[in-house]
Structure formats: structure tokens, C-alpha cells
């Protein structure tokens, strides 16, 4: 009996150290997110899944996603529109339209009047079709030039404005409220931490990190599952991020 009393604390200490080790075990991942190479550490018991251009860390029904917002600055828009024009000139009309339809251009224009000035040219290039006459093709090329000149005149947007634009594409705006937002430093870069929740119930808390990476934003977000589980993993992922 006495020996059992001596052994029990030792057994408990071993169990505790094993469980602490299991919790502390992490795995480093090298990821290409948009055009940004990064690395981060994820808990070893969270499975890594690549979904097209997105990176998902999941554990049962809990999920945290790492992704690129797509172009949000005027330089990013201009690069994509020039690429769409190249496709159009190469008769890859459908591909050019797919590329244009991905752009969240409307929100980048600060006023309705400025958007109205470009909207007819935008519609012309984003609805162009195969088999157009020479005159119609000429009109589309002029429209591309008009859109590019209007995009070049767009004002520079701050991080908050870019983050809101990215958020609008990720969540329906009419169902959520921003619970809080605060600037953070991630591997020496300034980012924005944003939390949203359901407007009616304040359930479905979702945490986002937005960090500018040139023409787009690097995004980390909690997704499905219990926020009490996804929140700490989100924080651990963000704390371990290194931009290369």
C-alpha cells in the first residue's frame, strides 16, 4: 500500500507530461497563399487540407482557413484587367470574363457617381462575346482602356477599408455585425484582427486576421465548429506566422 502511495504521484506526473507534450506538439507548414509564401505552426492533431488556392486546418468539425482575398488595390485590379484584356485579344473570351467577374471592383469606387462613370465600359468588357464584329471588338478594346484609366485614378485604400471589402466577400453583410476590430502586429507587419457575430443572436463568432500583401490581403479565419476550440487554434496559428 505504501509503495502504491509513492508510485501514484509519479504515475500522475508521467500522465501529465504526456498530455502536455501532446498538446504542445505542432507541425510547421510552408504555404503559398496567393503570391505570398508563409510558414506557420499548426497543432499536430489538426489535419491540413489543401482546397484549390486555400489551406484548411481541421479537427473533427472545427476548421480554420488560410486564404488570399484576391486583388483589392488599384494596382491589383489593373493587373487583373490587363490580363483579362490579353485573354480577350487572344480570343479567350470566357476566361477573360471569369477573371473580371472575380474582381470586387464596385466597392473600390468611393462614390456612386464615380462608379456610374465607369459602369458602361465595365459592362461592355465583362459581357463581351465571341463572334463580335470588328467594330464591336474595337469598342471593347476602347472600354478596356477606359476602365484601366478609371482604375488608375482610384484613391489608395486604408487597411480597414480593404478588410471590410474582403469581409463583405466572405460573409453576407446583412446578417452579421462586427463585434470588435483592432490592429495587430504579425511577424513585424501591421494587420487587422476583426471579430464578427450573427446580428440577431450574437452566436457564430468568427475571428479574422487581415494582413496586406501588396495587391491583396492575407486572410486567416475561423470557420465551422465551436469557437471555444477554433479561437485558440486561430491565435496559435497567427502567433507562429512567418512571412517569407
Amino acid at each position: 500500500m505504501r509503495s502504491l502511495i509513492h508510485v501514484l504521484p509519479l504515475f500522475a506526473a508521467v500522465c501529465l507530461s504526456v498530455s502536455v507534450d501532446a498538446a504542445a506538439q505542432t507541425e510547421r507548414h510552408e504555404l503559398l497563399v496567393g503570391r505570398q509564401q508563409i510558414s506557420l505552426q499548426a497543432p499536430a492533431d489538426w489535419q491540413y487540407v489543401r482546397r484549390d488556392a486555400e489551406h484548411v486546418f481541421k479537427n473533427r468539425s472545427e476548421q480554420v482557413r488560410v486564404l488570399d482575398s484576391g486583388p483589392l488595390t488599384r494596382e491589383g485590379f489593373a493587373r487583373e484587367i490587363r490580363q483579362a484584356r490579353r485573354l480577350f485579344l487572344g480570343n479567350q473570351i470566357d476566361e477573360s470574363i471569369v477573371l473580371l467577374n472575380r474582381l470586387k471592383l464596385r466597392a473600390a469606387f468611393p462614390s456612386q457617381a464615380q462608379w456610374q462613370a465607369v459602369v458602361s465600359s465595365w459592362r461592355r468588357i465583362s459581357r463581351s462575346s465571341i463572334g463580335s464584329s470588328h467594330a464591336e471588338r474595337r469598342a471593347v478594346e476602347d472600354a478596356y482602356a477606359d476602365v484601366l484609366s478609371q482604375v488608375a485614378a482610384l484613391p489608395t485604400r486604408g487597411l480597414e477599408s480593404l478588410a471590410i471589402a474582403a469581409l463583405d466577400a466572405l460573409e453576407p453583410t446583412d446578417r452579421r455585425d462586427v463585434r470588435m476590430q483592432q490592429p495587430v502586429s504579425v511577424d513585424g507587419r501591421v494587420g487587422l484582427l476583426v471579430e464578427t457575430w450573427d446580428r440577431l443572436s450574437h452566436a457564430h463568432r468568427t475571428r479574422y486576421l487581415f494582413v496586406p500583401t501588396g495587391e491583396s490581403l492575407f486572410v486567416v479565419r475561423t470557420e465551422f465548429g465551436d469557437f471555444a476550440k477554433t479561437g485558440p487554434v486561430f491565435d496559435a496559428l497567427v502567433a507562429s506566422i512567418e512571412f517569407h
Binding site: A113, D177, R199, L200, S201, H202, A203
Partner: protein
């Protein structure tokens, strides 16, 4: 009067219910100073719930008037509540016999206000083109086919006349005149004021809705205040024939800044003090359309 119109529409049951509410409210207010009874002084729910055990208050903004309240503590899960003309949140006790606390707003009153639309219209005035301006102006028109009181009827007519004037001025190129007319419509709208007895019948507890669950006994409504806003509350018991439990219910109706909030409890007697603590935690932060 709107009230009599409602009575005609709602039939004998509605007449009885409305008469009951009006009679009780009159009784409460006659004979000099009205004797208001606060919800915490009501006869059931004798124990007190330690308010320090409640989570910190959250500000819910469902319309133009926010409401702040502590949510139910751990052991209750939450869902959005959208039914019966109400929108809000409901807290359901886990592993219980259907105990629920609900905080919601009767959104039809919020929809009658055009403050948010007119404020947005004035804010975006410079950035709207003609088509969008006229569309926003149309959406900002007041709509009250069944005026709650005669004052609302007059003010709605006057505000819509101002919006007509804004349209005419805008089409004539008089942007300053259009802006002034919209500001005048906003002032007309903010003059509209409802009293709780004029709007409460829209949400008042209907014992008939529980007929199929058991025997309902309803106490007379009590007037009072929640966060300094006028309120009415109704207590009831439901002797459930499904599981043999005696349920206690309380519905508290609060009118703040022309917005009607409904706080409801349905559960076992020992949980009622928690609901009372949640009601005590309510406050009304200043919204964009505060008077």
C-alpha cells in the same frame, strides 16, 4: 382611432383581450399617482439571482434602437429568434424541460420609422446619381396605412409632403432645397410618439396559444419601468399535460424611443430569478435615431 379599428378586426377574443389590457392599465393609472409595480416585486420568483453571476451585457442592434442586456449564463445555448413579428435572440437551457428566455424586438414599429433611411439619404446625398437618389427617396417615404394615433397620421402626411417637395426641388436642380426638405421630413418623423398602451396589443400574451399544452392561468398585467422606459408585464402559469411540470412564464414589454422590445421567460419557478436579473441588466444605449 387605430385602437377601435384593431378591435373590429380582431373579433370578440381580441375585444376581450384589449378591454382587459386597457381596463388594467386604467386601473393602474387612476386615483391620483399611478402605483407602478416593478417586475422584481411581482409575486412569483422569490429567490434572487446574483447579478454578478451573469455574463457582461451585450449590445444588440436589430433596428435603429439598440438594447443592451446580459445573456444567460453557461448552461444555456443561444439561437436567433424570428417569429410572430419579433426578431432577436433566445436562450435555451441545455438538458432542461424546454426552459427559454427570449429578448426580441417587434420590428414592425422599427419599420415605420424612416429615420435610418433619411439619415443615410442625407449622408450619401452628394454621391448619389439621379436614379439612385430618386430610388432612395422613394424608399424613405413613410408608410402608415393604419396610424397608431392621430398624431402619427398627421405627421406621416406632412413628412411625405416634404419628401414630395424634395423630389420636385431635386428635379428642378435645387439641391439645397431638396436637402432642406429631407431634413424637414426627418424632423416630422422624429415628432411621432407612441404610448405603450397604443402598441402593446400587437405582442400581448395570448393564453390561447398554450391551450393545447395544458391549463393556463394568467395574472393581470403590471405596469412598471425597465431601464427607465415604460413597461408592462404579464405572468402566467402553465400546468403542462405533456410532462406534468408546472411552468412559470413572464412576458415583459418595454417601449423605448418608439421601439417595442419583448422579454419573455418560460420555465420552472426556480429559474425565474435568472430572468429577473437579465431584465434588470437591460439598458438602452443611444442609437443613431435617438430623440
Amino acid at each position: 382611432m387605430h385602437q377601435s379599428g384593431d378591435l373590429e378586426r380582431s373579433g370578440p377574443r381580441g375585444v376581450a383581450r384589449c378591454a382587459w389590457i386597457v381596463a388594467t392599465l386604467l386601473l393602474a393609472s387612476c386615483g391620483g399617482e399611478p402605483e407602478f409595480v416593478t417586475t422584481s416585486e411581482l409575486p412569483i420568483g422569490h429567490e434572487r439571482f446574483d447579478p454578478a453571476s451573469l455574463p457582461p451585457p451585450e449590445v444588440f442592434t436589430w433596428g435603429s434602437q439598440p438594447i443592451s442586456a446580459s445573456p444567460a449564463p453557461e448552461g444555456w445555448y443561444r439561437e436567433k429568434a424570428q417569429s410572430g413579428g419579433l426578431r432577436g435572440v433566445r436562450f435555451i437551457k441545455s438538458r432542461s424541460f424546454g426552459e427559454e428566455i427570449r429578448i426580441a424586438e417587434h420590428y414592425a414599429l422599427d419599420n415605420r420609422s424612416r429615420c435610418a433611411q433619411l439619415t443615410a439619404l442625407l449622408r450619401d446625398f452628394e454621391n448619389l446619381d439621379r436614379r439612385d437618389f430618386l430610388g432612395a427617396l422613394q424608399r424613405a417615404r413613410f408608410y402608415a396605412p393604419d396610424p397608431i394615433n392621430s398624431y402619427e397620421e398627421r405627421k406621416v402626411a406632412a413628412a411625405n409632403a416634404d419628401l414630395d417637395a424634395a423630389r420636385t426641388a431635386y428635379l428642378a436642380g435645387d439641391l439645397n432645397g431638396a436637402r432642406r426638405a429631407i431634413q424637414q421630413a426627418l424632423r416630422q418623423g422624429s415628432d411621432i410618439l407612441y404610448r405603450i398602451e397604443e402598441v402593446i396589443d400587437r405582442v400581448m400574451f395570448d393564453p390561447g396559444s398554450y391551450d393545447s399544452f395544458g391549463e393556463v392561468e394568467t395574472m393581470p398585467p403590471q405596469t412598471g419601468y425597465v431601464a427607465e422606459a415604460p413597461s408592462v408585464s404579464v405572468d402566467y402559469t402553465l400546468d403542462s399535460r405533456d410532462n406534468g411540470h408546472l411552468y412559470y412564464g413572464r412576458q415583459v414589454y418595454v417601449l423605448e424611443n418608439n421601439h417595442l422590445f419583448v422579454l419573455t421567460f418560460h420555465g420552472l419557478q426556480h429559474t425565474l430569478p435568472l430572468f429577473e436579473a437579465i431584465v434588470d441588466s437591460v439598458s438602452f444605449p443611444r442609437g443613431q435615431c435617438a430623440r
